[in-house]
Point group: D2
Chain length 424, copies 4
């Protein structure tokens, strides 16, 4: 058991320009396990309980703000809140620390490669003022890695000494490579990640930005599916939601909606026979049904292969597949059925952040800037047990957070939908 | 040139129970052409200008309310406002005329066929009170005709003497068949249509219910497409909207959004080469583009065949087709491109009516009830030049309203999008 | 009976730069009364039916676009759609006619007075591109007239030869003064009004921009009032809506909501005793009630005096007044009551336009620009019987459109709310 | 330092009907302080760290479900989510535990007093199915306490052995009285509170239900205030939000909006002179300003007296007061100003819960039922460090959670608004 502290670029000698009553001590941590049983177990073993370094402003900082050139890059698919984070990082660098050189790199890691020819945007409060009212990312994005050495050459040429990387685990893996190359060259460049995953699947983190908005935006399509299902005899409304390896969006959206009769997620295996038994029975009894399926569910039932540029396994379209299977099986049973398939993914991920998410993005941005200015590097920002923490990048991408099929959350889904626990 | 008056079941001898200052004279009409030039031309030819019978309450009515059993049926695809119309018809029958027997037939014309086994719902103010807050139809729907004689047998058995048919031209064609069978048998049954077409393509009518809601609900997906398009280098956001033969939804939604660069509708022909020339130029200049395509556009470019149960020609998926063509042609030109295709149709058609549409539905319902109680039949209710009118069913389904490619509305689209007039 | 044609600055000799198939003939009119009875009466009297000049692009125009400097000014209270109209006027001037000098005068008529010191904003497509996503007016507004001669001096100095005035009847009265001063001086300056009244009370016009949005935005507060009313025993939810002299917003919002039990508008007089009799009975039967009151209703029951800067009679707060009266009368009758008063006016009038309104604003803007470029002046743009027309300014401000207490619209309200016809 | 465990009605002998893998051990706790420094301090002092009992299903339960009659009551002002909690409690009692007797007491504690004559509603899944789509409370509410002995008499008569109290601290204080009376009489009645405070001010709790919805619903009115402020020269938009003693709603809504220039909350004192200095300077520089004030802020500047039926100190209307002061002080300084005051409170508190809040309500309901069925009493349900816990009622109402004027959250507000730290 250990405390996860952060990698540092050097000692902090500059006084922070932010108000002095509010600083966080460098040795403050947030317990990873906040339960009494965890605490007892740890005491029994004699050590300190495992904890993550607490985020926040430090009394002394590493960088002299006038020497800072900061860069921001957004990678991978869209996610609500990207513009909020870009805006927050810019505002806090500018107003709290007095940094005046802030570069918005365009189109993901491509923008960090000089030869790609995408000129960065100079970010100022005026430029970012209203961007949070739009979804998407004002910087643009792209998928996939770029050559690490080339990127670092470019950072050096542009005198960038702080780089904020907004993206998923591929992105943070790339950030780790950049950080290691930077250290190999002994450069004072801080690399701070802000994890972007609409699936909310980062290990150790309570939630990631965009998740609450994604859930809120998923309820409307489910309601539509419900109306379509009830609009015909034996109607089935089928909604595919985000969730490559973790089904949190599908789970929360279904709980919020309360109109869903079957939720399928990657963590819970099922067979076509298993779900057909339940569906046919349900249709015979109620004449309609609503299904929510996470995009990564049931992949083993199809024969999808390949990967996208981010290195993500290419998923088969489980929605289309299920639609076909339902029509086939109901046909075999001579039960007429009408399946309406809705895939709202692009509409959900391009939505502007809802209020709570927007505030969360601002706090992430603040803490990312504090971490960077204090000379920390190779970490990502997040919350654990409700408090903002630094997580070493390597730890954050080590594994994924998942819905526990034997846990209380999934039990709530079973109760809420009436679906059987065993769909095999 | 003629006045289109309504077919009547017989003479009106019952005094109307509604307030007496407000009655419409039976010979009042609404001019079909309200322009000065139309008026002059008509005068020159010596006749009366063509007009449609004005809708509204009559001083004397045909039916004795206590003898009425009314039926309501909803057919075809979902459309915003169906529940508002069901609610309005029920409320006005009940409170203004004192009718107490109102049957909601289930699942379209199937519900009018006894052997289908769908028991009708007894509609009362209590039952319909809050249904307008939901999209869809509380009665359910189905596609396709049923045997006319069987339907009339069932109406007779259930003593239904007023039937309200909510549906598109297939439905109103079916209603015409029912009405003719009814007259052949010399039965006093009024058949009143309320045209339901989210495409807003009924000949002679200003607009149909659900259209404004459809337009309002289409703006969000277009904004999403815009964000997705700008979110990557050379992004193209492609949205498919309703519009089998008339592109009004695509046109109005694009004008409301102002983010669209290319609108494709059934009324305006185009070639793949024509649109690719424009798109490649646009992408090179601006690095993103937004396309809105009506479902019926460009059908001649694909090889779709067949028809659905409503007898509608089966459409090829022009969105998927365009996506493929864009990827192919940009590939040939070695211009990288990323196409995000959004099909929000089910979400649009299942939305609850917005305020203005909701009021419009209520007025349609009122006038439908007034027409029925006065013993009129074989007509549909709508507005012409802003006033509620009776249109003989035969006339209403004769042809479709279309966007005029040489008219001011399409000119507004060209100006708004910057797309060339000629896409061939 | 006469045709209302427009005042003209001179003969049109410049060919229009817009596409030639689409021009409107100068002698085309739209009938004011599109009914058959109107048509017959007019024929009996031997004259032509009264009509309004049809709006739209003309083949020949008066102004050479390169010589044009256009000005736009927004006056009076906020109204949804102001930014849409500003945007539309700018876009159409720029792209269709090639006008490059467009001035946005700030803060209403103050901005037209040099000494007020508000510099106008140069409007370009870039500047106005996204303004329609915000409510309010990007130009700012103010109430009240300014010295006409001073304004005209300033127009001359700034070489403005087209002025678009967005505002209510006070504003259009001011526009008329400006136009007359311009003619007295024999200046070729066109003054075109776009009537802005959230109350939808312009004589002869079907509807005014912002009205549909206002109705849509009023439903939420009524729902809140309903929830508050049902949330306690004997709860009364009371919502004050716009409507100084015409109750259209209150009427349409109540019809759209269907939760309202009493609607009070300026056109229908009532006494406190009359409404208390109904309310006490309703509360005893149902334990809650929802009231919607237009701001101008029941003014004779209070003792308000004075006027605001626009010259509008200062209204007493009928909402607060009613709340007090209800508490007093229920107290006297020893019926406990809890009144929750909601005044959402600022939230409604500052909302961005909904889709349909937004398209309507664009069409208004187009037609205003066409009228101005053709050298017409002293007119306002609107729709009559669904078609865009020119209305002489003097005619448009002559009187107000009102809800007819003996008409079908008010009858619908009575039926919908269950309130008695006679509240005296 | 101690562990806060729960009061129990007796030993648990019935096996729980819920799935067995998921039970929480009775001795599991959630640390109140999850920081490393807290853990070290506690270790230094030799004791166990303070913790709250973890909520969740237990393997053995106290009540036999067939013997249970449960009651639910909602008290005090409306709050988003009340219907979600009522629905959740009913669903979990019914489906997970098999309880069939569930009474919804009407109109707050009045409904628990027989002589008030409000008959309770029998709650079933059918009754509560869709209630979460409405704001408000389907049970109605009232303010103020009722006689404790009379309430307990009624519970006994109706054989209620579980009572869920949804309300603020007054309500939970009343629940404590009921619980003590119950114990005095040695009755096996569990009293479980679900704290309802839109202000989010419960001591020890992360958040309370309705808070996120309140924040989300507050952003619109702030945007309106912004548009109104910019709509005139020297416009000030002033919004009053909830927050009697804690300013969390004002703080979060302002952070989410990013359009606010001055936030005033109860925890931070200010003088009229202090805020006028800032406002006049701001208006001179920017010509508009947006102010958000929590209802409880600046009360010492007015002379309000009295209390409402809930025993809450009657607050003066700080919004109206500030409006008057601003007009007066700007007048004295001869700076023209136009203040638009918006009070959206009734619209915010009557809103239906947003998705995230809705899921939170369901989890609160689940845990409340688990606690009750296990025979616990005199506790309220909430989350601490992200986990659901039991808090002894006495502890929960002991003091309030407040915004720390020297903490990071308030610092974010200062940075976001640009307002000075010192407003005295």
């Amino acid at each position: 058991m250990k405390e996860y502290s952060s990698k540092r670029l050097g000692s902090c000698t500059n006084p922070s320009p932010v108000d002095s009553a509010l600083f966080i001590n460098d040795d403050e941590g947030v317990l990873i396990d906040a339960t009494l049983s965890g605490c007892r177990a740890c005491r029994a073993s004699g050590g300190e309980p495992p904890s993550l370094e607490k985020a926040g402003p430090r009394e002394k900082i590493f960088f002299n703000p006038t020497d800072v050139t900061a860069g921001i890059v957004t990678c991978g698919g869209l996610c609500p809140g990207l513009n909020d984070v870009i805006r927050g990082v810019t505002m806090v660098l500018w107003y709290r620390y007095g940094v005046r050189n802030i570069l918005g790199f365009r189109y993901g890691y491509e923008g960090l490669v000089k030869d790609c020819g995408h000129e960065p945007i100079e970010l100022t409060p005026k430029v970012v003022e209203d961007i949070h009212q739009d979804g998407g990312t004002m910087l643009g994005s792209s998928r996939g890695p770029q050559d690490t050495a080339t990127i670092v050459d470019n950072l050096v040429e542009k005198r960038v000494n702080i780089l904020f990387t907004l993206g998923g685990d591929g992105t943070q893996r790339g950030a780790l490579d950049i950080s290691r190359e930077v250290q190999k060259r002994n450069l004072p460049i801080a690399v701070i990640g802000i994890p972007k995953t609409i699936d909310n699947d980062i290990y150790l983190l309570d939630k990631t930005f965009g998740f609450e908005t994604a859930v809120a935006s998923s309820v409307g399509p489910i309601t539509s599916a419900h109306m379509e299902a009830k609009g015909v005899k034996n109607g089935i409304g089928l909604v595919r939601l985000m969730g490559r390896e973790s089904g949190f969006v599908a789970v929360y959206a279904s709980l919020a909606s309360s109109d869903v009769n079957l939720v399928l997620i990657p963590e819970v295996s099922f067979t076509i026979d298993g779900i057909m038994r339940y569906l046919i029975e349900r249709i015979k009894a109620k004449a309609h049904a609503v299904i929510v399926v996470a995009e990564g569910a049931g992949q083993e039932l199809m024969n999808a292969t390949g990967a996208d540029k981010s290195g993500n396994k290419k998923l088969g379209d489980i929605g289309l597949f299920l639609k076909g299977e339902i029509v086939k099986h109901f046909g075999e049973q001579e039960v007429p059925v009408s399946v309406k398939y809705i895939d709202p993914s692009y509409m959900i991920r391009s939505a502007p952040a809802i209020a709570d998410d927007s505030v969360f993005c601002f706090h992430l941005a603040e803490n990312a800037v504090h971490a960077a200015m204090s000379g920390r590097t190779e970490l990502v920002i997040g919350t654990r047990n409700g408090q903002f923490v630094h997580i070493p990048t390597e730890l954050a991408i080590e594994k994924r957070k998942k819905v526990n099929p034997r846990g209380l959350l999934w039990q709530s889904v079973l109760d809420n939908t009436g679906q059987p626990m065993d769909l095999s």
